[in-house]
């Protein structure tokens, strides 16, 4: 049944595209956020932006949880989201601490400035 829902493309709602919000709309939103976060993480080099991208991915998961929770009429999805927020906050505190620590050392937020640890140059 879920698969059938997943397979519902937007086209089937073409008659009234914006009148009905289905599970797939929420999942598309969450997948889009997740991919944006992933792409941002891989392409950006500013440490704060990289961290924000991982937060974006966390929130994508949270949206999917809530949508699924509503779909299954089950509260555990929402409960999960509260815990996701907590972990996200703990990670934010940690990220802030680490970034400040590094910024004080090198006065830059560019992740590429930190490349002391690497494979030894080819011998």
């Amino acid at each position: 049944m879920i698969d059938a829902l997943m397979n519902l493309s937007l086209g089937q709602h073409a008659a009234a595209p914006f009148t009905v919000l289905t599970l797939s709309h929420y999942l598309l939103l969450s997948a889009a956020l997740f991919v944006l976060g992933l792409l941002g993480f891989l392409t950006r080099r500013n440490m704060i932006v990289m961290f924000l991208c991982t937060e974006l991915m966390f929130q994508a998961a949270a949206i999917a949880m809530i949508a699924f929770g509503r779909y299954h009429m089950d509260v555990s999805g929402q409960v999960f989201v509260i815990f996701i927020l907590t972990i996200a906050a703990a990670e934010a505190a940690l990220a802030l601490a680490l970034v400040v620590l590094l910024y004080r050392r090198k006065e830059t937020l560019n992740a590429d400035a930190w490349s002391e640890l690497r494979e030894p140059a080819g011998e």
Partner: protein
């Protein structure tokens, strides 16, 4: 509810130890601050003693977990090796501050003292690992995995004052956050596919789906994302590349911690998650086992992991990098057991984790226990001729390297043997052959770790290697090396213990009626 809390008593003890240690770390009296490792080790010892008393058949049945007895084995192993890891980290943190205070050059200032926090984080991470073994829902598993990982990021940053440690911490943290997001998304999809977060219920849902055809694609995608995310924790292929950098940047004692604790947590999470989707030859599932997509994914990850790990280690000169690549390779070996599945496979993984924890800790203990001009020894050259100056440490290094190769009759040999047997029994012959070839490659660099201390003459550089200020890392090294030699005598008992840990005799207390009819019709 109460049954759940009953099994959490060891975690509570260790958590209490963490709180106590962090508070005592702010004490103005040096005696108390020096006693921190004893308090930390004491809480682990208490948990170790209490754990076997908690697991009796009655409580296990009442808790209705996926693998009821898993916690017993895991907690005992974790507390035991945890004590050794505490010993290794003794005297590592706040060395400069403490010597300045002792010499009267500085006043003790709580805000710059980090020793208490360091041991608290160490204990919290172990608590997270122990919690993984009791997990029965996705929230619990997620929180336990994060509780295991978050403190390790801080520990890496604290472990040394150098820029390298900070760089390592940031790399580790960012990839850790990315991997957490990936497996969290996987969890969300699993929840969506099953409509429940409770693992035992999830297994029933997937079993029913399998009965009506196939497990839903949503579940498969969710499971693959979870595996990819967790592969960071066990340092497996798509997310393995951080390991050498991070291990090199962190202090040796912390690197030993990283090689054991998050890896064990990740493997436990994999076991629990895969058990829900047909991995276990449970009566509700057909005999097919894992869905093919997952089998292929795990197979590729296993081969890539062991090959990249072993090939990567060949060209290294830094011992910590070698051990990091070796840690990657060993994850690959353990994935054979994960693929082989329930019974022998899982039990072999648990046994191997114990073996790996001991022999790997021994290798890092040598690095943590020796130093050259006030810094940890880094390169292979530093080990040259170690036999002449520090014979015991040279012996520890040799035993650990031989065991890592899988040289009989040391512990590593038995671990590998059972993994390979499990793989062959499950029909993964090609995988085991590849693993065997990889072991042969690995002999090259491990034998370097044997040859350097035993056969080479000490270079001028190696002449300056002296003992580190703290005795305890070396004691930990000796204990682990002795264990690597002695424990094989008890292999049979240990295997019995790990078999019991993954047995699921009590899994279904009351199978509901329509399912038992299905069972009857199947038979």
């Amino acid at each position: 509810m109460v049954e759940k809390l009953w099994f959490l008593i060891p975690e509570m003890i260790v958590f209490g130890g963490a709180v106590l240690v962090s508070v005592l770390g702010l004490s103005k009296r040096k005696v108390i601050r020096d006693a921190l490792p004893i308090v930390a080790g004491g809480s682990l010892l208490a948990a170790l003693i209490v754990t076997p008393m908690l697991y009796d058949a009655e409580h296990v049945a009442a808790a209705n977990l996926l693998m009821g007895n898993l916690g017993l084995y895991v907690k005992v192993v974790v507390c035991g090796i945890g004590i050794l890891l505490v010993m290794m980290n003794t005297g590592l943190i706040d060395r400069r501050l403490e010597s300045a205070v002792a010499a009267g050059r500085a006043k003790f200032d709580p805000i710059s003292a980090t020793r208490g926090e360091f041991f608290a984080f160490l204990l919290l991470s172990l608590t997270g690992l122990m919690l993984c073994s009791n997990a029965n829902d996705l929230i619990w598993l997620f929180l336990a995995l994060e509780l295991t990982s978050l403190p390790t990021y801080v520990m890496v940053a604290m472990s040394r004052g150098s820029k390298k440690a900070q760089e390592a911490a940031v790399k580790y943290f960012f990839l850790g956050a990315l991997s957490a997001a990936i497996f969290l998304y996987g969890f969300a999809l699993l929840y969506g596919a099953s409509g429940t977060i409770v693992l035992t219920e999830m297994r029933d849902v997937f079993a029913r789906q399998a009965d009506f055809g196939d497990v839903s694609n949503l579940a498969i995608v969710g499971m693959i994302l979870s595996i990819l995310g967790i592969s960071f924790k066990i340092a497996a292929a798509p997310m393995h590349f951080y390991a050498p950098d991070v291990y090199q940047g962190a202090a040796a004692a912390v690197a030993a911690f990283l090689a054991f604790v998050p890896k064990f947590a990740g493997l436990l999470a994999l076991m629990l998650l895969l058990s829900t989707i047909g991995w276990e030859n449970h009566y509700r599932f057909t005999e097919i086992g894992l869905p093919p997509a997952l089998q292929i994914t795990l197979w590729i990850i296993a081969v890539l992991t062991m090959t990249l790990g072993n090939v990567g280690a060949l060209l290294q000169t830094s011992i910590k990098r070698i051990l990091a690549y070796s840690s990657i390779a060993h994850s690959g070996y353990m994935l054979i057991g994960i693929l082989a599945g329930p019974g022998l496979g899982m039990s072999a993984v648990l046994f191997y984790m114990l073996a790996y924890g001991l022999m790997n800790t021994a290798a890092f203990a040598v690095l943590a226990g020796l130093e050259r001009s006030g810094r940890e020894i880094e390169t292979l050259d530093d080990l040259a001729g170690l036999r002449q100056r520090h014979p015991l440490m040279a012996g520890v290094m040799v035993v650990s390297a031989l065991s890592l190769i899988g040289f009989p009759p040391l512990l590593g040999f038995w671990g590998k043997l059972y993994l390979f047997i499990a793989g062959i029994e499950a029909g993964h012959i090609l995988l085991v052959v590849i693993a065997g070839l990889n072991s042969a490659i690995s002999a090259w660099y491990y034998l370097g770790l044997v040859k350097m201390p035993m056969l080479e003459q000490p270079s001028a550089r190696a002449e300056t290697v002296v003992r580190g200020p703290s005795l305890w890392p070396r004691v930990a090294g000796l204990i682990t090396a002795a264990a690597v030699i002695v424990v094989p005598l008890f292999t049979r008992n240990l295997l019995k213990a790990s078999d019991a840990a993954v047995a699921d005799e009590q899994v279904f207390v009351t199978p509901d009626t329509d399912d038992s009819q299905q069972l009857a019709s199947r038979k």
